[in-house]
Symmetry: C2
Subunit: 486 residues, 2 copies
């Protein structure tokens, strides 16, 4: 290998000046892709013949899997990428802890930022987590010092993705994050490369295994949300504080990244409407089933007349759709695009090995290909998307009302719906237990009534429900679940 490296170096001796000139000449002109290309190309040519030295920060489940997998498959991956690779340095909190992996011969750094800046690595893998602190500092330090970065940190990218992508582009290095969205599913590569020739119209996915596990159990066994959450926690599918997962924030972080990949817009997590699954009742799952639907927590990004709509909420999906079959902790993403039509990817959304598999794919790209714009578009071309306000969202709705079983109630509800130009596709009424004990049916005990609307606006639905409540026709807040059709 030595002579290769030398010739690589001597080559660069001729190259650098030219590379720089080209680079400088374009510093001023707004042509990031073209100007970066030449310099990046030269660096790439030099590096392709040298071993890729990987510095890994974070030795949790994923980090340990990555070390194991690289020790197993490293040679093969290197042969396929056309460049040898190895982890040469690691960093973690506790040096003594036994992680069941062999770290002998690897340089140890107590400080991740120091590792990120070390001249002895070419690629920094960040598996620390968190949207600030050491993770952010280390990634910035790595990019600024010309290191390629591979990260699984969705929170960091959802918050600082635009700035970090710009930093990567300025320094002509990779910023790869396949493991940050949908774990082992190659959704980033698919959006950025496989669909390069497509105009995406909509993207939706099951991006959080905890929520899908809970909803699957609730549906299959008719259990309550609380019972299933407790099981999920016992099985390690949910954190002690599950808020982040069950209220949809984790899904939102991933959606923010996928939205930019799909539409070439700047990462804008604040524009996402977020609603969790804690309010879903077994009755809703039963009603959904009766109506030919299943309820999934979806992240949806859509190009609408009013702009890019980003939303995370429980969603009714047709029971025979591919995404409705996705049960348990599995993730799935469906993309609607002009050329390919509909494409669905289903796979593990979490887990040490599955996530490490995505990190390895990124490392192979770092080793074998020149840097590309992290989100698929040169940063200079990524614009802030016009936000589509949720009130303007148009679609079908599932509305469950606890209606006082009195004469005129149905008429009142129908009238308010009509007044707001909402047409109903179907109405389903179940006899409540209270009502069942009352043969006369005149107790006025609340009975669940479900309305499925044709496409209408969120605003209209909310207004109709407000009016219905105002008339005292319902006993509790209405349950509203959006419908997403294929």
């Amino acid at each position: 290998m030595a002579d290769m490296c030398m010739s690589g170096e001597s080559l660069l001796h001729f190259l650098e000046p030219h590379g720089k000139t080209v680079q400088d000449r374009h510093q001023s002109t707004p042509r990031p892709a073209a100007s970066g290309t030449m310099r990046v190309g030269l660096i790439w040519v030099r590096l392709m013949t040298k071993q890729l030295r990987i510095g890994l920060a974070g030795l949790g489940t994923v980090g340990a899997s990555l070390v194991r997998l690289l020790q197993m498959h490293g040679a093969a991956i290197g042969a396929r990428a056309g460049r040898p690779m190895a982890i040469t340095a690691v960093s973690a909190r506790d040096r003594k802890r036994d992680r069941g992996i062999d770290l002998s011969g690897l340089a140890w750094f107590d400080d991740a930022v120091a590792l990120a800046g070390s001249a002895d690595i070419d690629c920094f893998v960040e598996l620390i987590g968190g949207d600030e602190g050491p993770a952010r500092e280390a990634v910035e330090a790595a990019l600024k010092s010309g290191k390629h970065v591979v990260t699984a940190n969705k929170a960091l990218l959802a918050k600082h993705g635009n700035a970090l992508a710009a930093l990567a582009e300025e320094n002509g290095v990779h910023l790869a994050f396949e493991a940050s969205a949908a774990g082992g599913i190659p959704i980033v590569k698919t959006m950025r490369e496989a669909l390069a020739g497509n105009r995406v119209t909509r993207l939706y996915g099951i991006l959080n295994g905890t929520c899908n596990y809970i909803l699957s159990r609730m549906e299959a066994e008719g259990l309550s949300f609380a019972e299933c959450l407790a099981d999920a926690q016992r099985l390690g599918y949910a954190e002690a504080d599950p808020t982040f997962d069950i209220e949809g924030y984790d899904t939102a972080h991933k959606l923010a990244l996928l939205t930019s990949l799909a539409f070439g817009t700047q990462v804008d997590a604040d524009a996402i409407y977020v609603e969790g699954i804690s309010a879903i009742a077994p009755l809703d799952l039963k009603m959904a089933d009766d109506l030919g639907f299943r309820i999934k927590l979806l992240g949806v990004a859509e190009r609408t007349r009013t702009g890019i709509e980003q939303r995370v909420h429980p969603t009714m999906v047709p029971r025979d759709s591919a995404i409705a079959q996705v049960m348990g902790v599995t993730n799935a993403v469906t993309i609607d695009a002009d050329a390919v039509g509909e494409l669905t990817l289903i796979g593990p959304g979490a887990g040490g090995d599955a996530t490490a598999s995505a990190v390895l794919a990124d490392i192979a790209d770092v080793a074998g290909t020149p840097p590309r714009p992290p989100f698929g578009w040169p940063v200079a071309q990524m614009e802030l998307a016009e936000r589509a306000p949720m009130q303007r969202h148009e679609g079908g709705y599932y509305v469950r009302l606890a209606v006082y079983d009195r004469p005129g109630a149905a008429a009142g509800i129908a009238r308010h719906m009509a007044e707001n130009d909402i047409s109903l596709e179907s109405i389903l009424q179940r006899r409540s237990e209270a009502a069942a004990l009352d043969p006369t049916g005149r107790s006025g005990a609340p009975v669940p009534v479900v309305l499925i609307t044709y496409a209408t606006s969120e605003g209209a639905v909310r207004e109709a429900i407000r009016q219905i409540a105002e008339d005292g026709l319902i006993a509790e807040d209405a349950q509203v679940i959006r419908i997403e059709r294929e």
Copy 2:
């Protein structure tokens, strides 16, 4: 752009000699990836700043879609790939035919081979079809003259894939074929890049839309194979001569390519066991449903104790599996691998725009990345896999017998199964119409009996059936369908 090109050229003025030296020094040593890398890298650096000139041969449905999509999205794809691109020359049989696309300004070639060798293109897109003749000649001419090649031609690659991959590697150019397997599904990129860090254990897929359409209709409507085939032909889903599709050869071609991508073995289509769907009866679909299965024509590639097993045949898949939900002309591929676990991709297997989407992804890779080994592994490392003979295939089996309804028949069948060490998971007997007319049940009219076996070998099942037939217990040939579990 002019000055960029010039500096690109002057750069190469310094580079070529070094590139050549490096190349030559490694000519003798068996390090294809590394030696190719340097030269390829230099060529890539020079080209990244110039427009990618595409020559397209074949203006059928896919070709016309490609022209349309590139005219629509070309600029965006170029910006994302970091290099402008455009179709500059085309070739087809009939110059006059109106294809509803604008070919003005494009050079016309009556001879595809002449286009492939033209010095005015950088990338040759082959959409002619056929495993010999102009398609093969043109692709070889393009590769030999240093052109990148993008093809959707599965037949050509299934037959000459090894030689063409070697030719591409020798000439340091791309040989991309995403559109050759599963149409718009990015399965090639997923296998070659996204799963680079995985060891694949099994791959199976619905790779032929015609067959899946026919089986879906048969199941949903209880129609015969012949009726559904006629509909498929009327709807343009099946050719006038459907043999190639319904007998499984089309699936086999695609499987041969996916097997190489999965296991790094040489393309070996002759090693594939192929069985079509023409013998599937509505009764089998009904029985499958009763037993919790669906019948799909699958292409399966698996690493077994006896070698790499490649097979195409009607298969019973669990009704709740992701692949069982795939209906109509849609395709799907599931990959089992050590790190990622199970990954499933579902999408359009055919159609002009969907196929063109895959071709466009390849073109974007050609424009933005250096050539990689076409099948994911340097040709020198691709070995001929040890074939696993079908007789040694191990798995569960569905066996439907037309049993003469006589005393002792059941006992005879059970004995022969036991003698061949086959244990039965379930037995299902349906009363035939003939038997239904015979209240005594002693007419001896044949009744369908279905046996589901636990894992056993193909050889044992065939031998047991031979013995059962020999004893005159069954009225017609047994129906044998293999079971594939998740």
